[in-house]
């Protein structure tokens, strides 16, 4: 008797790790991008590399799209199922640390391991895993790898790509591939940030960092956003490399201070700037007076600083809780992550505010100022189609503004569904064609996470096929 697709999944995983009941499928129908929602055909929870490979091969045989998923915290729709019902491969049961070497400062982990869990484990040897997206309590190393995740501290320590040394993945042919940074062409760098369109990562070799000897956090409040941005530019230009440079605008401060994340930020401030210096004690102590001098010259409303771990956490509390606090403004939030040169931060933010007004959308900003990575937050009510449409249009206009200013449409969230049309702001048809050919080298049949990344309209072959069926990206 021939088995149907679902029975074949059961044959690979057993009854208890394969799901297609409506309730489970609904849970997996979207990620942190609130606009697009599709239910998968089935949800599979493999525990071994071989099971992942068997699932991919099954999907290839059956022509079913594949969506690898970590914790589903992606903000661009990268972990939202494609329109054509897919097999969603949930990596949560592959979360072990397989080996690690304190001396070599490396670890090999399964891709479903939660980011912060790794730092907790290696912390006993004075090490940590540096990439720290805001979602790090939940998001997985595999998900971070797929999106090339950033975070507040990547200004100094770099993106996820700077901390990945190797990847084991099942590619779009169903073959197991081991890519190592020291061994051959940089397939590791290509795979990182490929948003699940090259295959399913099962193991990741990461670089661990030494915990800094000293950390000093400053909180400065300003009467204008220009002054806060000007301070950031001067710090960067002085050659000081803080671990983090984060700015919250007035609306964000109001939302934070009215929420459970209240951190005592001055409500009359137009912007607060968090500056974190870390490293060897001598270095932090030498840089601190320089930061204080720059701050004084920019006339802040108030400045406080501390090296005490608890007090530092308290200063960070509002920043870390900012996105949660946005729930007070509107039921839904659409978080952009365009990038601009740091020297243009203030002027671009002023134009971003104008775009918010033009579309009559509540718009707040909390962002990684050191590397010019904006986070304009468009708050809207998803039950109101007109407001949702205006939020989307405003978002696209802001991304176009970022590109026109010499920047990028995405600094850390990836393209996914959210920015696929905005890809044309940065890349012409020849660029996109090169990307498509590159993808075929990993996934010739276009089964891995189809319908994302590439724009759908205007002469793009993949786009036309995706628009008509949104099946496989062939």
């Amino acid at each position: 008797m021939s088995l149907n697709f679902e029975q074949k999944v059961i044959k690979i995983l057993g009854q208890d790790r394969a799901f297609w009941d409506p309730a489970t499928k609904l849970c997996y129908s979207l990620d942190g991008y609130p606009v697009q929602k599709h239910t998968p055909r089935a949800v599979a929870m493999p525990e071994t590399n071989k099971e992942v490979q068997a699932l991919v091969r099954l999907c290839l045989e059956e022509g079913v799209p594949i969506l690898p998923r970590g914790a589903g915290t992606c903000l661009s729709g990268g972990a939202t199922p494609p329109k054509t019902p897919c097999l969603l491969i949930e990596m949560a049961r592959m979360q072990k640390i397989l080996s690690w070497s304190p001396e070599d400062r490396t670890a090999i982990v399964q891709s479903g391991m939660v980011n912060l869990d790794l730092s907790v484990i290696v912390g006993k040897k004075g090490l940590y895993y540096a990439p720290d997206p805001s979602s790090q309590k939940a998001s997985t190393i595999g998900g971070n790898l797929a999106e090339n995740a950033g975070g507040p501290h990547c200004f100094k320590y770099g993106m996820t790509a700077d901390h990945i040394l190797g990847v084991r993945f099942v590619d779009g042919r169903g073959e197991m591939v081991v890519a190592d940074l020291e061994d051959g062409p940089d397939l590791v760098g290509l795979f990182t940030g490929s948003e699940g369109t090259f295959g399913v990562a099962t193991e990741v070799k990461v670089r661990l960092s030494k915990s800094p000897e000293m950390v000093r956090t400053f909180l400065a409040s300003f009467s204008s956003m220009e002054a806060a941005c000007g301070t950031v530019s001067r710090i960067v230009r002085e050659g000081i490399v803080p671990a983090a440079l984060e700015i919250l605008d007035h609306l964000t401060i109001e939302a934070v201070e009215a929420s459970v994340f209240a951190a005592g930020y001055p409500k009359d401030a137009e912007a607060v700037l968090l500056i974190e210096l870390d490293g060897p004690r001598d270095e932090v102590e030498a840089d601190s007076p320089k930061v204080v001098k720059i701050l004084k010259e920019e006339h802040p409303l108030a400045v406080e600083s501390t090296t005490d771990a608890e007090q530092r956490q308290s200063l960070w509390k509002g920043r870390k809780g900012a996105f949660g606090a946005m729930g007070r403004l509107k039921p839904n939030i659409f978080v952009l992550d365009g990038v601009v040169p740091t020297s243009k931060l203030a002027s671009v933010l002023s134009k971003v505010a104008e775009i918010g007004k033009k579309y009559n959308i509540v718009l707040s900003n909390v962002f990684h100022a050191g590397d010019g990575n904006l986070h304009p937050n468009l708050s809207f009510d998803g039950r109101d189609p007109s407001e949702t449409r205006r939020a989307m249009e405003a978002g696209l206009e802001i991304l176009e503004l970022c590109v026109m200013s010499g920047g990028s449409i995405s600094g850390e969230h990836g393209i996914g569904y959210e920015k696929r049309e905005a890809m044309r702001y940065m890349f012409d048809e020849a660029d996109l064609s090169a990307f498509r050919e590159l993808r075929r080298c990993f996934d010739p049949r276009g089964v891995c996470n189809p319908g994302k990344f590439f724009p759908t309209g205007g002469g793009c072959k993949e786009g036309r096929s995706a628009k008509s069926s949104e099946g496989l990206d062939v």
């Binding site: 590619d171 062409p185 760098g189 001598d282 270095e283 850390e412 080298c441």
Partner: protein, 368 residues
């Protein structure tokens, strides 16, 4: 063999569109230490040394744009008035940026975020069929599009030609010092080097310099005066060079190779630092081991290679370079697809093992 010296990207496109069936050798400055530019069986040379403009320098955002033929010393001269520098290296000043990025030789400062792959933030490329494309951008943080910059760095031009590069820059530290230990026995040297890896908070370079039966340690420090002073005390080493001389001073085997009329054998690779001492034993090697375990040696130890150690046969006397093959069959297969997709007639000797593999077919044959 005809040498083409284009001056614009349009000329490169026309050239590669027209002759993509031939073997095209890519040359930026011709100083590669891995013989990545040796003529071999190629029929034409594409020399990019006339494309040597610094197209953009933005000191406030710590980025710049350069054409492939720009020499490192010219870039350094342009950056110096702004107190900026190229983080990876050191490399010889008369090498071109295109050549450095294409070859990505190991170097003392090239580890962690100092690796060359982290400095390249955007690229204008033309593949072996004359197709022009961009990837990346001009800002230091950017995840839009696939990262073709990573495919270029270290590829030796095996896939496509990089014509213009957007680079991340760093501010030069307030004080820079190159420290050197006294001569040490091999065992003592390895123990001290491993200890310093664990205790020095943020060295800019930490090399174990092997000189046969002896060795010494070199440390490059950069930061505030107070920090550098404290680390000098910590190591107990003497200051050998300071300032820009120190920044440029820790040169690897590349410097030796370029000075000598007959370059020595050169084995490059990587070994987990925890396993180096067992592997080296008492082998009288000349060369360097960099901070993260990358090495450049004149010979390989005879004993069993440790788990995780990788050797690239980048240069041996009398042998033609074959490129840098991955050892995993799956990775090799993808490298082969990439070569087929992008390379056309470009750099046929680079990764030429892949062609042989495709004829033989079986995955086991992929291992060179």
């Amino acid at each position: 063999m005809f040498e083409h010296r284009p001056q614009t990207d349009k000329e490169v496109v026309e050239l590669l569109s027209g002759i993509h069936e031939q073997g095209i050798l890519l040359r930026c400055g011709g100083h590669a230490s891995s013989r990545g530019v040796s003529p071999g069986k190629t029929q034409a040379i594409l020399n990019l040394s006339d494309m040597n403009k610094i197209t953009r320098l933005d000191p406030n955002d710590l980025t710049c744009g350069v054409q492939a033929g720009v020499l490192l010393e010219d870039l350094e001269e342009a950056l110096a008035p702004h107190g900026l520098a190229f983080e990876s290296g050191p490399f010889l000043g008369h090498r071109s940026i295109g050549g450095i990025l294409g070859e990505a030789p190991p170097a003392s400062r090239s580890f962690d975020r100092g690796r060359l792959r982290s400095q390249l933030i955007g690229i204008l490329g033309v593949d072996g069929r004359g197709r022009r494309f961009h990837a990346g951008g001009q800002v230091v943080k950017n995840v839009a599009g696939y990262d073709l910059c990573k495919l270029f760095v270290g590829s030796g031009g095996a896939y496509f030609v990089g014509l213009e590069f957007q680079l991340r820059l760093v501010a030069l530290p307030a004080r820079i010092g190159l420290l050197q230990s006294e001569p040490l026995g091999l065992d003592d040297g390895i123990i001290q080097w491993r200890e310093l890896r664990n205790t020095l908070p943020t060295p800019r370079a930490l090399d174990l310099v092997l000189e046969g039966s002896h060795c010494h340690i070199e440390v490059l420090l950069g930061g505030s005066a107070a920090y550098v002073e404290s680390q000098i005390r910590h190591t107990g080493f003497k200051v050998k060079l300071e300032g820009m001389d120190a920044w440029k001073g820790v040169r690897g085997r590349e410097a030796i190779a370029n000075k000598e009329s007959s370059p020595p054998n050169l084995f490059r690779g990587h070994c987990p630092p925890s396993q180096l001492s067992d592997w080296i034993g008492q082998t009288p090697i000349h060369g360097r081991i960099h901070y993260q375990g990358a090495f450049e040696w004149d010979r390989l130890p005879g004993g069993e290679r440790p788990m995780g150690a990788i050797v690239h046969p980048t240069q041996r006397e009398g042998e033609q370079v074959q490129g840098n093959p991955p050892s995993d069959p799956g990775a090799c297969r993808i490298a082969m697809e990439l070569k087929r997709t992008f390379a056309g007639g470009l750099m046929p000797q680079r990764l030429s093992f892949l062609t042989r593999i495709s004829r033989k077919g079986a995955p086991q044959e992929i291992h060179p």
